[in-house]
């Protein structure tokens, strides 16, 4: 028993080393820094909650706006990802795997390419506005298409979609077709099977898709900068500037950790809601 335990912990070592070295150590450095201060452009070790207080007083509304928009993007993305993965798993037959592969190929396009692509589509002289004007639906270009929260949502949803599809499809692939037939045989309707079997067993994948999109969008600062316009400033832009030209890494760290904590809470809420919704009963 003791021997087995020793072997097991020995085998866990490489994994733990990678986790600690690449994730825990750098993060805990910034966690410590978030309690420090900057005095005359120099870092001063301290144990103050001042930075956290500033996050809420100075950046509270930006944080709330960021979390709202990120939650919206994550919800839309997870929903589309679920619909797509569901189609691939249950309707596309033998083309399912191929369709999933196609969705992943779009990742090769790269992040910036996608942003510029949407700039081209949504811009004042872009494809969408030109088409609307040519059809006589609008007299001039709609400026709100680009440099607006709408553009941020569209761009980030498009970017995150393949990443969100993957965990959902993974979860749906594990479903047993016979179990679904058995549920029908026992009288379950389509919506009932969706809730009791499909959602109940794919909620892990769905939560992963949501969480992945949420953390990517909540921390993103390139997309709001490029297509967002002045009204869609997100917390990522401010975090970046604290580490950059403002030289205030304690405040930047505090902002980052508050964002991480909020994202954690949102994901936990979703996870618990899904669990309550799909909980099996006797």
């Amino acid at each position: 028993m003791r021997q087995a335990l020793r072997t097991a912990s020995f085998q866990l070592l490489p994994g733990l080393a990678i986790l600690a070295g690449l994730f825990l150590l750098p993060l805990s450095y910034f966690f410590v820094v978030s309690f420090w201060q900057v005095r005359t452009f120099r870092l001063r070790p301290d144990a103050t909650l001042e930075q956290y207080a500033r996050v809420f007083t100075e950046y509270g509304s930006t944080l709330a706006w960021t979390l709202a928009i990120a939650t919206l993007i994550a919800t839309v993305t997870a929903a589309i990802a679920f619909a797509y993965a569901h189609y691939c798993r249950f309707r596309a037959g033998r083309f399912g795997d191929g369709l999933i592969f196609l969705s992943l190929v779009t990742l090769f396009g790269g992040y910036l390419a996608k942003i510029y692509m949407w700039k081209t589509i949504l811009g004042g002289t872009g494809a969408l506005n030109s088409a609307l004007m040519a059809l006589g639906l609008t007299s001039g270009p709609i400026p709100a298409l680009l440099f607006s929260p709408f553009a941020v949502i569209v761009t980030l949803t498009h970017y995150c979609l393949p990443l969100a599809i993957l965990p959902v499809y993974g979860a749906l692939r594990g479903l047993d077709d016979t179990a679904i037939e058995a549920a029908r045989d026992l009288g379950a309707s389509g919506p009932r099977i969706f809730r009791d079997l499909i959602l109940a067993q794919a909620r892990g994948g769905l939560t992963a898709a949501f969480a992945l999109t949420l953390v990517i969008t909540a921390a993103d600062y390139v997309t709001p900068l490029m297509v967002g316009g002045p009204s869609s400033n997100m917390i990522g832009l401010f975090i970046q500037s604290q580490f950059g030209n403002r030289l205030n890494s304690p405040l930047g760290s505090a902002m980052a950790f508050v964002t991480i904590a909020c994202c954690g809470l949102i994901v936990l809420t979703l996870s618990l809601t899904l669990r309550a919704l799909t909980r099996p009963r006797t």
Partner: protein
């Protein structure tokens, strides 16, 4: 009495392949029917049509006098035990069994009572809170059975439910099925490719071959009076002697003429191995053995309750005899095979 399940000219094809040729079948209340055939004979398609998972191309299906041909499975008075069980892996045993009752909005106390009753019936009363992933194959199989039985279906459909179990467990489960059928009554339709399983369970067997029901009768009927060469070969072991029939007599291909009414022209004479008596001296054969054939012993295997002797007839056909005792026979011995013509079945080839 009106049948509980009635199939009228029901057929199904997939593309250019015909899975089930139009066939008619009537199954009465309380029957335990086995649909028996090799893989690909259409037996599972037939069962799935009764259950509502496959829509027939033609014909109609009536359950309790009502046409259900186009009704989906959730609207039929049938429940199915699937080959792969199809248990819900994220639910406990009791939650699996209760699922159909919840859908049917059976009240909580009634539901709990019926679930307990079903678990009791399958002898898993203590495992209600166990996750299905923690069950053995045999236990899973029983949960699948309980989940269907708890619905008190008019017709219980079983699709090769024992095929994933090992032999010992399969035999034990066969006994369970017999006990449960006797205990709950109801109509069971059981699909299998295993003739021993069909014989031991069902009171009626429908043998299927290439999308057709080729014989429908009691296990004894089918064993003793197979309707075709296929049925004779598929159900148990059989000696199949080819020959030509005319005037109440059969001339076997080895030249021997034996009494045998039944068919004119090319025939197959079916003789079960246990009906065959072997003797080195023809005079030693009992009088009732009025059909006789010369053969050479190829192998003698002692199996305990019986002795299995493989032989080759003079026309080169392989033959088999099962007897209680080995006698003094050895490979290479010349013997006479004798049987009573009452025990043989002559079928047009």
């Amino acid at each position: 009495m009106a049948p509980l399940v009635e199939l009228v000219g029901v057929g199904k094809g997939y593309g250019s392949a015909t899975a089930v040729h139009p066939l008619s079948l009537r199954i009465g209340e309380g029957e335990f029917v086995s649909i028996l055939g090799p893989s690909g004979c259409g037996k599972t398609t037939l069962l799935r049509m009764i259950g509502g998972f496959v829509t027939p191309d033609e014909g109609s299906i009536l359950i309790d006098g009502r046409d259900v041909t186009r009704k989906p499975p959730e609207k039929r008075a049938t429940n199915m035990v699937f080959q792969g069980y199809g248990l819900f892996p994220h639910m406990t045993v009791a939650q699996n069994v209760a699922y159909g009752l919840r859908i049917a909005r059976v009240a909580r106390t009634e539901r709990a009572r019926r679930v307990a009753e079903a678990l009791d019936l399958i002898r898993l009363a203590d495992l209600g809170d166990r996750a299905v992933s923690a069950l053995s194959g045999g236990q899973r199989q029983r949960v699948a059975l309980a989940r269907a039985l708890v619905m008190r279906p008019r017709v219980l459909l079983l699709d090769e439910p024992l095929s994933a179990l090992d032999l010992k467990l399969r035999l034990a489960m066969q006994e369970e099925f017999r006990r449960i059928h006797a205990q709950v009554g109801g109509t069971f339709i059981f699909v299998t490719h295993d003739q021993a399983e069909a014989m031991s369970l069902a009171s009626r067997i429908c043998v299927m071959e290439a999308g057709r029901i080729v014989q429908d009768g009691t296990p004894e009927d089918i064993y003793r009076r197979p309707a075709s060469r296929f049925v004779a070969g598929f159900i148990g072991e059989a000696n199949l002697f080819e020959g030509v029939g005319s005037d109440e007599r059969v001339r076997l291909s080895c030249g021997t003429v034996i009494p045998g009414a039944g068919a004119e022209g090319p025939i197959v004479c079916v003789v079960r191995p246990e009906a065959v008596t072997l003797a080195a001296d023809p005079a030693a054969l009992p009088d009732q053995c009025d059909a006789r054939l010369f053969a050479t012993v190829e192998d003698v295997v002692f199996l305990g309750p019986e002795v299995r002797t493989t032989l080759r007839t003079d026309s080169g056909a392989q033959a088999l005899a099962l007897s209680r005792t080995a006698g003094p026979l050895r490979p290479g011995d010349r013997v006479t095979m004798g049987w009573a013509t009452a025990d043989q079945q002559v079928i047009a080839a």
